[in-house]
Amino acid sequence: MPDAYIFDSVRTPRGKGRASGALHTLSPIDLGATVLSALDERTRFSRFGPEDVIFGCGDGVNDQGANIARSSVLHAGLPDTIPGSTVSRFCASGLDAVNAAAARVMAGQADLLVAGGVEMMSIIPIAGTGGPNGTDAIFNDEAHFTPLGEAADLLATLCGHTRSDVDAFAAMSQARAAAAWSEGRFDLSVVPVHDANGVLMLDHDEHMRPGTTADDLAKLPAAFKAMGEKGGFDAVVRQRYPQVAKVAHVHTAGNSSGIVDGAAAMLIGTAEAGRRLGLKPRAVIRSFANAAMDPCLMLAAPADATTRCLARAGRTLRDVDLFEVNEAFASVVLHFMERTGVGSDRINVNGGAIAMGHPIGATGVMLLGTLLDELERTGRESGVATLCVGMGMGVATCIERVGGGS
């Protein structure tokens, strides 16, 4: 079985996911083309036309719909002989794109692919696709539909996470992200975004609030309290978890992932394809895995996905150097640490989505790219990126640097 290697990885900075966001006036294909062009500039992958460009996109509708990958290829002016396709598993779409690309390489059905992701949450809101989940009353009864924020507060309630626990975690995410930016730890991957006239739109993560303290965060209102108490969802989750007397609404805009626009892309292929392009493999994709659980509690599957992924790689939690656990909500990472016993010194060491934002379909690629950069920077070897996923799923990918050392 051929190994699947990562040769390079780029991402856009993350723009605020609202009308005032720096990327809002662009189109998703602009972001898709930006990362594809940057990746091509750095690797010249288009000289040996990749088998496919696979983009993750959480809500592939409207301007993000109808195959944003192939559209982005053409918009980027890459050869029209490069195909494109999209995958969607909500928050893990990007990581699924990576895993799908790796699987094709491992299966011997492709020797070079681009995996990436795009999401412009400023124009397509989360769950903007529609679908039975949330909309179809019969399905909602069957699947015990729970909105994301309610599930996060339910997880916090069941785990006993207090408001100060989650705020402390969020403050740490902000501090780590600020430190990472100021030390230039993202410089290798982040490519600035320009508009059609070459005007710079954004060159830094716009959502961040460096200097945020736990005290600042404590002042924010609970984001999902009204939905839970007045909208009825507290009662709904108590039907599934009767041990809950009262849902603790601890999550706020400050300790939940930021709503942002962004894109990322990564070049994946065989060792031979790398040689053809004159590229040194940076890491090998050792294993990946999915997990699923009760869709009501929804957000606790990353630990299972990680355990399964590591078992496949013949590794244990102890001999993984770094973890990127998507900060969908602070409780998700706190729960992951409790379940796995992995300490915060190995998790999200450069901050995460609470500080920098979570562009749904692109995040998985960004996490893996960040992980790879940090492994290289610190001379470490192995890492896992994992995300929780809507409707109760989790996806994890394990990578190892090639040749060890830098």
């Binding site: 809101p125 903007g128 529609g130 949330g134 909309t135 179809d136 009353a137 019969i138 909602n140 009864d141 539909f145 909105p147 909208g231 009825g232 969802f233 507290d234 009662a235 709904v236 108590r238 039907q239 009767p242 041990q243 809950v244 007397a245 009262k246």
Partner: protein, 699 residues
């Protein structure tokens, strides 16, 4: 059933006249309608069609008896298919069709009107319009979920269809359920005028370029509405309101398709729902059961003045309800001061009803004026009947009964509002025990529909008739039972409370008990109910319900011990804010001391908690039937729903057994008896039914 006459000028008049007091749309009617519509549509001389009724109302809905007799979704579809076809042919026949709504049009009757191009109603204040099916656990099945939202929008239609809300003529006009209102005498003329002016009438949704008014299910706003509506229903009724779920589903999927496809989606869900256990339980209890439990005695002039002894919550509630029914009331309290307090409480109650718009100020004043309060039994001398509602203790009640016996006219009926004490033992205080009857009211009396009437061995026909007459005047639904400790309702509720407190004693957190019960559809959980009852009072009730020897339902119960421990620790219940829960402004939280007071020997699985709470009630109800306290299962099921908030979709403790199957319940009960105590041993009657494959309810 439906006849055709000529209104002149080529306008055909279809007149509905089915058997019975109102027009009920049976399968036979539906076929007759379809045949007639085929005939008229084929008649080129017809220029327009008016549909009206020969009865006082236009038409009520479909025939519930037929729906109940149906066994499969295909049976249901066969009933509605000709009706649906007839309506579609009418609205697409190329000639104007007008509904002449001479009176009330509900359910299928209103759906027929929706299939007309114009709905003109006679100006009658007593007529109502709409789709009330959800009230019986059903949904509109003749196009109502598709045509109404295409007329007034998804959200407006949902607001009416989900709760089964009907509108009077003025409100129906305003909401767009009818297009015009004219004086009754001009109804047919208004219809023919409209036909003359609109020769090419079509339905708006059959025209090119038509768009759905209001929210579209395939927009963010439309989806947001559907999600929110689902959550509100789900929060209130857990997953027990299958009708609401189905209605939202057909609005969603029907409105994003053509009318014909939408109706196919509606029919599929309607047919599924109509034969579902939940809908059948609702129909049985809410329609057939409450009808059977309505007092058959009409009030007459033999009961004009009643005496009520005791001015507490129950006494004032009874006095209020009696005065509201137009009776003159003598309310007796122990002192002038207490009598005045009681009067104040009644006046406040009337005032609240004025505030809610249920009484006018004049009516409230007249109501209070009908009540005389006194500290003397002399006030009862001219009463036709008395109801005592004093403290629940044999000696206290017997003292009052003796005084009434002395003060009242010989032979006047004396009733006790006891909830547990056998009437026979109270009646020993009277010279003539045959004048004694039990009238167990539920709090708050002015709200609760149920009245449990207890007939002791000695109770005379006259006393029983008097009790029923009062019930009829107060518009109560009655359950007549025979004498025994706790009668029927208190007996079953006590077994439930006892099991709830036994679970607490075994270390099950109170919110688990409450959440599992509300999830099953109960209005309130056993833990919160214990706090509301007050811990010491519940202890007294369960102690007295244990009677001389421990009845089966109390064997192995840890409730009384647990309640005594709580009482000793000062955990009195809701009134002090400290019971099984701590009560604060922002809600109730389980008392943290419970875990130490009642350490869990082992964890009781949630499934066992749930089945213990449900099976307990069913077993005790069967024992009450077996003992002869309860006369029939249907009245026991109706009383459970109306009396203690038993989930109507489960149909009551007897229907619950039918739903699960007697033999499965017997197996479950035996397993519970092995695991948790002999109180779960199934009674012989149930074992026999399991063996014979019997059910409590045939339909």
């Amino acid at each position: 059933m439906i006849s055709r006459t000529d209104l002149g000028g080529g306008v055909a008049l279809l007149t509905i006249e089915t058997a019975g007091p109102v027009n009920t749309l049976t399968k036979a009617f539906n076929h007759a309608l379809l045949r007639l519509v085929d005939e008229i549509v084929a008649d080129d001389a017809v220029t327009g069609i008016v549909i009206t009724s020969a009865k006082d109302g236009f038409a009520a809905g479909g025939d519930l008896d037929e729906l109940r007799a149906a066994r499969t979704p295909a049976d249901i579809t066969a009933i509605v298919a000709p009706f649906l076809a007839a309506i579609r042919k009418l609205e697409t026949c190329g000639r104007p069709v007008v509904a002449a709504l001479n009176g009330t049009a509900l359910g299928g009757g209103y759906e027929l009107a929706l299939g007309c191009h114009r709905r003109i109603a006679a100006d009658r204040p007593d007529a109502v319009f709409g789709l009330p099916e959800a009230g019986l656990g059903l949904m509109p099945g003749a196009g109502g979920t598709q045509r109404l939202p295409r007329l007034i929008g998804m959200q407006a239609a949902a607001d009416l269809i989900l709760p089964g809300r009907t509108l009077d003529t003025a409100a129906a006009l305003k909401a767009g359920l009818v297009d015009a209102v004219v004086p009754a005498g001009e109804l047919l003329k208004a219809c023919t005028d409209w036909i003359a002016a609109n020769p090419g009438a079509t339905q708006p949704f059959d025209r090119k370029g038509w768009t759905l008014p209001g929210l579209d299910p395939n927009t963010v706003e439309g989806r947001h509405f559907l999600t929110g509506a689902w959550a509100r229903i789900r929060a209130k009724s857990a997953a027990t309101n299958e009708a609401a779920t189905a209605i939202l589903h057909v609005l969603h999927h029907g409105l994003e398709r053509s009318l014909d496809a939408g109706i196919a989606v509606e029919t599929r869900q309607f047919a599924r729902l109509a034969v579902s256990t939940g809908a059948r339980n609702r129909m049985r209890v809410l329609h057939y059961g409450t009808r059977a439990a309505r007092p058959s005695v009409k009030p007459d002039r033999s009961l004009r003045r009643i005496a009520v002894v005791g001015g507490g919550q129950m006494g004032t509630g009874i006095a209020y309800a009696a005065a509201l029914a137009g009776l003159s009331v003598a309310l007796v309290e122990a002192s002038r001061e207490k009598a005045d307090e009681a009067r104040g409480r009644i006046a406040a109650l009337a005032e609240r009803q004025v505030g809610r718009g249920r009484l006018s100020s004049d009516e409230a004043a007249a109501l209070v004026g009908r009540i005389e309060t006194s500290d003397s039994y002399d006030a009862t001398a001219d009463a036709d009947m008395a109801i005592e509602a004093v403290f629940e203790r044999l000696d206290v009640k017997q003292d009052v009964l003796r005084k009434l016996d002395a003060a009242m006219r010989p032979g006047a009926t004396i009733a006790s509002n006891t909830s547990t004490i056998p009437i026979g033992s109270l009646a020993t205080a009277l010279g003539d025990p045959s004048r004694m009857v039990g009238m167990h009211f539920f709090a708050p009396v002015e709200v609760m529909k149920l009245l449990e009437i207890v007939r002791a061995d000695a109770t005379s026909e006259k006393a029983l008739r008097d009790a029923r007459m009062i019930a009829s005047a107060m518009r109560k639904t009655i359950l007549t039972v025979n004498d025994g400790l706790g009668f029927y309702t208190s007996r079953v509720v006590s077994s439930l409370s006892s099991e709830g407190m036994t679970l607490v004693a075994e270390g099950v957190p109170p919110q688990v008990i409450d959440n599992l019960m509300t999830t099953a559809g109960f209005a309130i959980g056993a833990a919160t109910l214990a706090d509301l009852t007050k811990i010491p009072l519940l202890k007294d009730i369960l102690t007295s319900m244990s009677g001389a020897g421990a009845p089966t339902s109390m064997q192995g119960s840890k409730a009384v011990d647990a309640l005594a421990k709580l009482e000793a620790a000062g955990r009195v219940g809701r009134p002090t804010g400290q019971g099984l829960f701590d009560y604060a402004e922002d809600g109730a939280a389980p008392w943290p001391g419970l875990a130490a007071m009642f350490p869990a020997a082992s964890t009781v699985p949630h499934e066992d908690v749930r089945s213990r709470l449900l099976v307990t009630q069913s077993l005790e109800a069967v024992r009450a039937l077996e003992d002869g306290v309860l006369n029939d299962p249907l009245s026991g099921d109706v009383a459970a729903v109306l009396g203690w908030g038993y989930p109507v979709h489960l149909g009551g403790p007897f229907a619950y057994i039918d739903g699960v199957g007697a033999s499965t319940i017997v197996d479950q009960a035996r397993q519970l008896a092995r695991d948790y105590g002999p109180r779960f041993e199934p009674p012989a009657l149930l074992v026999r039914m399991a063996r014979d494959g019997d059910r409590f309810h045939a339909l």
